[in-house]
């Protein structure tokens, strides 16, 4: 009516209305939780609510899993940033690194480790768009930051990655939407967010966290958004994943080639390399002697493991104190392959990034550590040789300490000369490595090195020929002092010395002790020998019996007190035979043994059995020594062990068995407590009375506690299954920690391996040269430990399902790439299905929407391990690449898969129920094999193979339940067993220069297509028209005699066709005139009608043609419109891609949609 715009509503800011509204709001806030609102209205409802709460409680519970990662010093959490190219992964990584360390990385390569809190370190790693990398990253990432381009939506790689995650144990995933600033309209933005979130939730779980990042500022994401994200990361809890909880692994953050340069040169770089990788141990304890697998390379042997100083340690009390002094230390970052602080390590060069124009004298430009060092290097005037000649050298001007060399070694020049150049290099590299740490540490390293040199010289340890220069020095770099090699040797010397001391004591004791097993090996001491000889002579009252009990007691107590052998050492690090160990060896012998084991690398060798004990039996019953048993004839001896029985009581408690007794009784009370008691070392019972009192008090205390517990709350002592299991695990973990607490690092590593969280250096032998030659830090290198079973090969049966997004079916005997355990490999599966639990029947193709079995040859994985499979890993494969997923069921050395085989034959002679059949077999032997087999005709008559006939070859006699016809085809249904092909082809993508284009075995069709070969055509296989001759039946002939005797009804009514003409045929017809007229009229009418129909038809055709024309016209018009529309769409898309390209160019970064 009136076109004035309506006034917008303005809510009252003041007055009664506003107050009322505000009051309402405030009230709600004040009250918070309204109890009444949620109170159940009725009893039934309360019951239901209660039940629901309990149910919800149960859903919270998960199967308790042991977390093998120690809580005190866990390895850094691996955070993988995954997404399609150009989505902003590097930007996010840089932003996050800047948030944690206030450093800007320009060239991010490989993992970046930062300290994020008191108890947490993070390792960021960016995953490139290669499927191989995605698979590897998916196996190790603890948290995945899945980046999605908000302006574009999900891409195929994202879904592929999620499917990979699903089959290898799902780590935590946070989705991140980027490029949201490209969506200009608010409504579109909102709807896009909503749609993407919905899709994301269906893929992960309802309520999965999705982050939104708006535009890029200064090459980074906005600080507030990054801060929010980092907060989410910092509170994230991780549930242990089953596979990672049973395998040790590490993500290598550095890789070095230790092969002697000379060897590389002479072999033109083709020789197998010795390579060290560095990283934090994760998962379970890493142990020496196991094999490792590097995905993309293969199975490798670990030559040595060494713990290094943590390059990125967690803050502790000391470091916190230090922090105030130097602000630098707060921002720890460890990224050896990136350019931290402007220094970047290449394979054989170090690049220093200098901002602005750089001149030497320029003091305005702040000089970083790297620049300083290079300038120092340039300043060095003398060669190292000159410097060594002086008693004191300063490597660089800035070095605060001087290197000291003891001057007594002048004669080693010959040895040194070839070491020299290595040393030079060495020092240089040392500097480089130590860069991110503080100076002091650097110098310590150097000092150690020099020390090491000296040690090498004066302690005449035979130097390994290969072990020149580099290798030896490398070992001690960044090493924890206790685990360095030199230290180890020292410790060993010291230990063996103490050993000798103990054995001395032992020697003395043996004068008093007498135990039968000792006598036959040792030279008995004088007293003992006398005693024995006398005992043998005086048969009536053996002298050894006289004061037997006292001596027995004495011996036991003495042997208990002073006989301390270091069993671990004796067993594991000497060459003594077991018999020698048991019957204490003499000191000098021991020494000899110890000397022998100096070549400690393989200190554990099997002693050759001497021929004299060739008749010794491998038996579990030890031979009984009758002498030893004789002492049990003595009454006192019998009495002396009374305390070992429950009736013994505490009478013998004074005899140093107080602890034992106490334990025994405690055990009845509470097993756990007694175990704990057992752990606590008893105070040495100098005063047995007080010790006894203390024991009694402890027992009383325990009983009291127990009583209180039961009296106060009898329910509390009963735990439900879940808590019980959790407690049990916690107890075991506490025990694990406590058991090796006091043991030194060296022997601890031998017994329990290298714990997760320690930074180690692993030396790998026989690494393919291509790994080094074609090393690319953007591809992750994972070292996965293998269990002993996983080194084996066998047939693996899996349950498999074709992925519903993969469009083709899978065919038996087509190669497939599996990602199973740590491994990626190509193999040839045979699909099968269980046929009524009778047999495994081969399938030619995988069924639709159904699981089936697949069996293939390959490395064994434990049952219940998930896997995913691919047909091709290359990036240019159209469509979804995850072909199938499944789980391992069974492992065996033989398989029983059968396929149906139908043998057909034809009868050539038929008796009543017997027929002679030919063309089924080719020889009598074959027939013999199938005697008794069931056969059948097509019409369903069942029968049996009986016996071969002499002629023709392969014919046999068969009986049937009814008479068969000559025209019947007889078939035999048999099962033919097939074996999967023994084909295993590991995906060695890391060895290629272009890592993305690994190709495995191709299909025959693919090869033909690639090579342009035509498919060979077998003439017999061509399809031809089947010509079936019409079946001719002979006339039924009933013998005349029979016919005569038949009743009339049954007689064949056979009559000859009529020969002579019929009555009508013989006559001519003459019509009357009226009749003629009528006939003529009818004829005319018919003619007219015919004509009419023809004309009508013509008209119809005409009309139809006209209509067709009209329709075509309309179609054309519609087509035009469609064309127009498409043009528009293409233009828009083109603009978008152009814009993106521009943007990328602007950001100076590479490849959007390049793959």
């Amino acid at each position: 009516m009136d076109d004035r715009p309506h006034k917008a509503h303005r809510p009252a800011q003041s007055g009664a209305k506003a107050e009322k509204k505000n009051k309402g709001k405030g009230k709600e806030k004040q009250h918070g939780f309204n109890e009444k609102a949620f109170a159940p209205k009725s009893g039934r409802r309360a019951d239901r609510q209660g039940r629901r709460n309990v149910e919800r409680d149960q859903t919270r519970l998960h199967v308790p899993l042991v977390n093998r990662t120690p809580d005190d010093e866990p390895p850094p959490v691996i955070i993988a940033i995954v997404g399609p190219p150009g989505v902003g992964k590097t930007t996010l990584l840089k932003s996050l690194v800047r948030r944690y360390t206030k450093q800007i990385l320009n060239d991010v390569k490989g993992p970046v480790t930062v300290v994020s809190g008191k108890k947490r370190r993070l390792t960021f790693i960016e995953c490139n768009n290669d499927l191989n990398s995605m698979i590897d990253i998916g196996k190790i990432a603890d948290l995945v930051l899945l980046m999605i381009d908000g302006s574009f939506g999900f891409e195929m790689e994202t879904f592929e990655f999620l499917n990979i995650l699903q089959s290898h144990g799902f780590p935590k995933v946070i989705g991140i939407l980027s490029h949201l600033d490209l969506i200009k309209k608010a409504a579109t933005l909102r709807s896009t967010k909503k749609a993407l979130k919905k899709r994301f939730w269906t893929e992960i779980y309802q309520g999965a966290k999705l982050f939104y990042l708006s535009g890029v500022l200064n090459g980074r994401y906005p600080d507030t958004e990054i801060m929010n994200l980092s907060r989410f990361i910092s509170v994230m809890k991780f549930r242990p994943l089953v596979f990672r909880n049973s395998h040790p692994y590490l993500l290598a953050d550095r890789l070095e080639d230790l092969t002697p340069r000379e060897l590389v040169r002479t072999s033109k770089g083709k020789c197998d390399r010795t390579v060290t990788v560095y990283g934090y141990v994760r998962g379970t304890n890493l142990r020496q002697g196991h094999k490792v697998y590097i995905p993309g390379v293969g199975d490798l042997d670990m030559q040595s493991i060494a713990v290094l100083g943590d390059p990125c340690p967690l803050p502790n009390e000391n470091s916190e104190k230090k922090r105030k002094l130097s602000e630098k230390k707060k921002l720890l970052i460890h990224a050896p392959m990136s350019d931290v602080g402007g220094v970047m390590y290449d394979k054989d060069a170090v690049w220093v990034n200098v901002p602005g124009s750089f001149t030497r004298g320029n003091k305005d430009v702040p000089q970083g550590e790297g620049e300083q060092m290079v300038m120092d290097l340039q300043d060095v005037n003398n060669t190292l040789e000159d410097a060594v000649a002086k008693s004191q050298i300063r490597l660089f001007g800035t070095s605060s300490k001087t290197l000291t060399v003891e001057d007594d070694k002048g004669s080693i020049s010959g040895e040194k000369s070839d070491d020299e150049e290595y040393n030079d290099e060495e020092d240089e590299e040392d500097e480089e490595d130590g860069e991110d740490e503080e100076d002091e540490e650097d110098e310590e390293d150097e000092e150690e090195e020099v020390d090491e040199d000296n040690d090498d010289d004066d302690g005449d340890i035979p130097r390994d020929a290969r072990n020149t220069g580099r290798t030896t020095h490398r070992k001690i770099m960044r090493t924890v002092p206790s685990s360095s090699k030199k230290e180890r040797e020292d410790v060993e010397y010291a230990d063996s010395d103490s050993d000798f001391g103990e054995d001395d004591v032992d020697e003395e004791d043996r004068r008093v002790r007498f135990s039968g097993e000792d006598q036959d090996q040792d030279i008995p001491s004088d007293e003992e020998a006398e005693a024995i000889s006398e005992g043998e002579e005086g048969e009536s009252i053996p002298k050894w019996k006289l004061n037997l009990s006292e001596r027995a007691q004495k011996s036991t107590s003495l042997s208990r007190k002073a006989r301390v052998k270091d069993w671990t050492k004796l067993i594991y690090s000497t060459n003594l035979t077991p018999e020698e160990i048991v019957g204490d060896k003499k000191e000098d012998d021991l020494k000899e043994g110890d000397n022998m084991e100096m070549d400690e690398d393989d200190f554990f060798q099997i002693k050759k059995t001497s021929s004299d004990n060739a008749e010794e039996l491998d038996m579990s019953n030890d031979p009984v020594d009758p002498e030893e048993l004789k002492k049990w004839e003595d009454e006192d001896m019998l009495e002396s062990i009374r305390h070992l029985f429950i009736t013994g009581g505490d009478v013998d408690a004074e005899q140093g068995d107080g602890g034992l007794n106490e334990q025994g009784v405690d055990a009845d009370v509470d097993e756990n407590e007694s175990n704990e008691d057992g752990n606590v070392p008893k105070p040495s019972s100098s005063d047995p009375e007080s010790a006894r009192a203390a024991a009694l008090a402890a027992r009383k205390e325990a009983l009291k506690r127990k009583f209180d517990e039961q009296y106060d709350d009898p329910e509390s002592s009963k735990l439900d299954f879940y808590t019980e299991k959790k407690d049990e695990m916690a107890r075991q973990l506490a025990l694990n920690r406590a058991e090796f607490e006091g043991v030194d690092a060296e022997s601890r590593a031998i017994v329990e391996g290298y714990r997760p969280g320690s930074y180690v250096r692993i030396e790998l032998a026989n690494v393919p040269a291509e790994l080094i030659e074609n090393f690319d830090p953007t591809y992750p290198i994972i070292v996965g430990g293998l269990l002993s079973t996983e080194e084996r090969f066998g047939y693996i049966q899996v349950r498999i399902k074709r992925h519903r997004w993969y469009t083709k079916t899978l065919k038996t005997n087509d190669p497939l790439i599996f990602s199973l355990g740590w491994r990626r490999f190509q193999t040839i599966p045979i699909y099968s299905l269980d046929d009524h639990s009778i047999r495994m029947r081969m399938l030619k193709y995988t069924p639709e929407h159904m699981h089936c079995y697949a069996t293939f040859y390959g490395p064994v994985s434990l049952p219940n391990t998930g896997f995913c499979a691919f047909n091709s890993l290359s990036g240019d494969t159209p469509g979804f690449r995850v072909t199938a997923t499944g789980v391992v069921l069974d492992i065996d050395r033989s398989v029983k898969i059968v396929k149906k085989l139908k043998l057909t034959g034809v009868p050539y002679k038929i008796f009543k129920n017997t027929a002679f059949v030919r063309d089924m077999f080719s020889s009598a032997l074959e027939v013999a094999k199938f005697e008794g087999a069931n056969i059948r005709t097509v019409s369903g008559i069942r029968g049996q193979v009986k016996k071969a006939l002499p002629k023709p070859d392969g014919a046999f006699r068969a009986t049937f339940e009814d008479k068969v016809l000559m025209s019947d085809i007889i078939f035999l249904r048999a099962w033919y067993s097939i074996q999967p092909r023994k084909f295993y082809n590991p995906v060695t993508s890391l060895l290629l220069s272009n890592k993305a284009d690994w190709t495995g075995m191709r299909l025959t069709g693919q090869i033909r297509r690639d090579e342009g070969i035509k498919t060979p055509l077998d003439v017999n296989s061509t399809y031809k028209r089947i010509e079936r001759a019409p079946r001719r039946f002979n006339p039924l002939i009933v013998p005349k005699k029979l016919q005569a005797s038949l009743p009339y009804a049954s007689k064949p009514k056979l009559m000859k066709p009529q020969q002579n003409q019929t009555y009508l045929q013989k006559r001519a017809v003459v019509m009357e005139p009226e009749e003629k007229k009528a006939v003529a009229l009818l004829q005319q009418i018919r003619a007219l009608r015919k004509d009419q129909m023809v004309r009508r038809k013509e008209k119809k055709v005409e009309k139809k043609a006209e209509r067709q024309k009209k329709l075509a016209k309309e179609e054309e018009r519609k087509g035009e419109k469609e064309k127009e529309r498409r043009k528009d769409a293409m233009r828009a898309a083109g603009q978008k891609s152009k814009r993106e390209a521009d943007m990328e160019d602007g950001r100076g970064r590479s490849k959007r949609r390049k793959t």
Binding site: R68, T284, N285, V297, G298, S557, A562, R563, W567, T568, I571, Y572, P578, E579, I581, V582, I606, K608, T609, S611, E615, D618, M619, S620, N621, D622, V624, L629, W632, I641, L644, F645, I646, G648, D657, G659, L660, Q663, G664, A667, D668, G678, N679, K682, E739, V743, S747, V751, L787, S788, T789, E791, F793, V860, P863, L889, I891, D892, R893, P986
Partner: protein, 364 residues
């Protein structure tokens, strides 16, 4: 990359059984040479060949190559299969010789093992069927192998002719429990089985009487059964034996056995067994000397936690076994004198389990 399972080399005929067991469990190829190469009668003995046959039966895909002279063997282990099996043991060794390695393998088979062994049930070299049943099998229960674990002595057979028959039933497990067995407790009961076949049945009573004369002083809870087998079930040769076991409050079992010898009175046999038992009890520990290897084996195979056990000093066999375990598994033990008890010859063995999982077990 060439994939060849690692080969472990040994020499000498001794410790053959546990080396074969370790090889089969780890799947490493094993080569043993110089088997009695210096002997007048060189090469493998009939019982060793028989053992190899038995191992071949219980596994699938095992390849055993024996050199022409029989002084070297190469074993490429397959997977442990199990199932219903039967084996005739030669008369040179008793059933215990064959059953001990099988007990270590059977829990990790694909199918529950149901093995019938025929031969000598009791002799002086190996654990007798009685001890295996009453002592060895309870040791397996410590590791969570209990349901359906059984040894049935169908017939007894004394050396030299044998004629006995036992049936061993063993369930399969996924993973062994970690052992924490440090409290020896006190002996609370003593049990024993005396049997006499093809001799005067009074012999077993005489052994029991002799034994009781010593044991009665300690505890009242003593039951010594005399086990009677008649006719065909009593084997082909005469013989008698007494096996004793002492169980403590924490179910520590110590055992001893004495077997009939020519010209020795049954009373003396009874006394011998009893004194051996007392010696064993006096040695202390949670596991007796005969079962050290079994317990250590299963401790190594446990989950990746610290297992502890208190035992006496290792026997030479145990020491060699510990060394072999290190070769195969890379696991070594921490062996220390028991610090909780000042002056005690017992040792605490602790190790970090390898987390061995029965990979042969079929899922679903």
């Amino acid at each position: 990359m060439v994939h060849t399972a690692s080969l472990v080399n040994f020499s000498g005929h001794q410790h053959l059984r546990h080396r074969l067991v370790l090889a089969i469990l780890t799947g490493k190829h094993i080569r043993i040479d110089k088997i009695r190469s210096e002997d007048k009668n060189p090469g493998l003995r009939d019982f060793e060949i028989s053992l190899l046959r038995l191992l071949e039966k219980i596994t699938n895909g095992t390849i055993i190559e024996i050199s022409v002279t029989g002084t070297a063997i190469l074993l490429k282990p397959g997977i442990i299969f199990g199932g219903v099996l039967q084996h005739d043991c030669p008369k040179s060794r008793s059933i215990g010789y064959f059953l001990e390695p099988i007990i270590m393998l059977a829990p990790f088979a694909k199918r529950p093992v149901q093995l019938t062994l025929k031969g000598i049930t009791t002799d002086e070299h190996d654990l007798s069927a009685d001890l295996l049943r009453t002592v060895t099998l309870p040791h397996l229960q410590l590791f969570g192998i209990s349901n359906g674990l059984e040894l049935r002595i169908k017939k007894r057979g004394a050396p030299p002719e044998g004629g006995g028959e036992v049936q061993f039933l063993c369930p399969i497990v996924k993973q062994l429990k970690t052992l924490n067995f440090v409290d020896p407790g006190k002996v609370k009961r003593i049990r024993g089985i005396a049997h006499a076949v093809r001799v005067n049945p009074q012999f077993s009573n005489r052994m029991i009487e002799a034994s009781r004369s010593i044991l009665n002083r300690y505890i009242p809870d003593i039951y010594l059964y005399s086990d009677v087998y008649k006719g065909d079930e009593s084997g082909k040769s005469p013989g008698y034996a007494l096996s004793l076991l002492a169980e403590s409050t924490t179910s520590v079992i110590h055992c001893a056995e004495a077997v009939s010898e020519p010209g020795v009175a049954p009373e003396d046999i009874g006394l011998k067994a009893t004194r051996q038992l007392l010696a064993e009890v006096n040695k202390g520990g949670c596991v007796d000397r005969k079962h050290q290897i079994l317990v250590i084996m299963f401790m190594v195979l446990g989950s990746e936690d610290v297992g502890r056990c208190r035992m006496g000093e290792p026997t030479p066999r145990t020491i060699q076994f510990l060394r072999d375990v290190q070769t195969f598994f890379g696991t070594s033990f921490k062996i220390v004198a028991d610090s909780s008890l000042p002056g005690c010859s017992q040792l605490l063995y602790s190790c970090y389990g390898t987390g061995y999982v029965n990979a042969n077990r079929t899922l679903a």
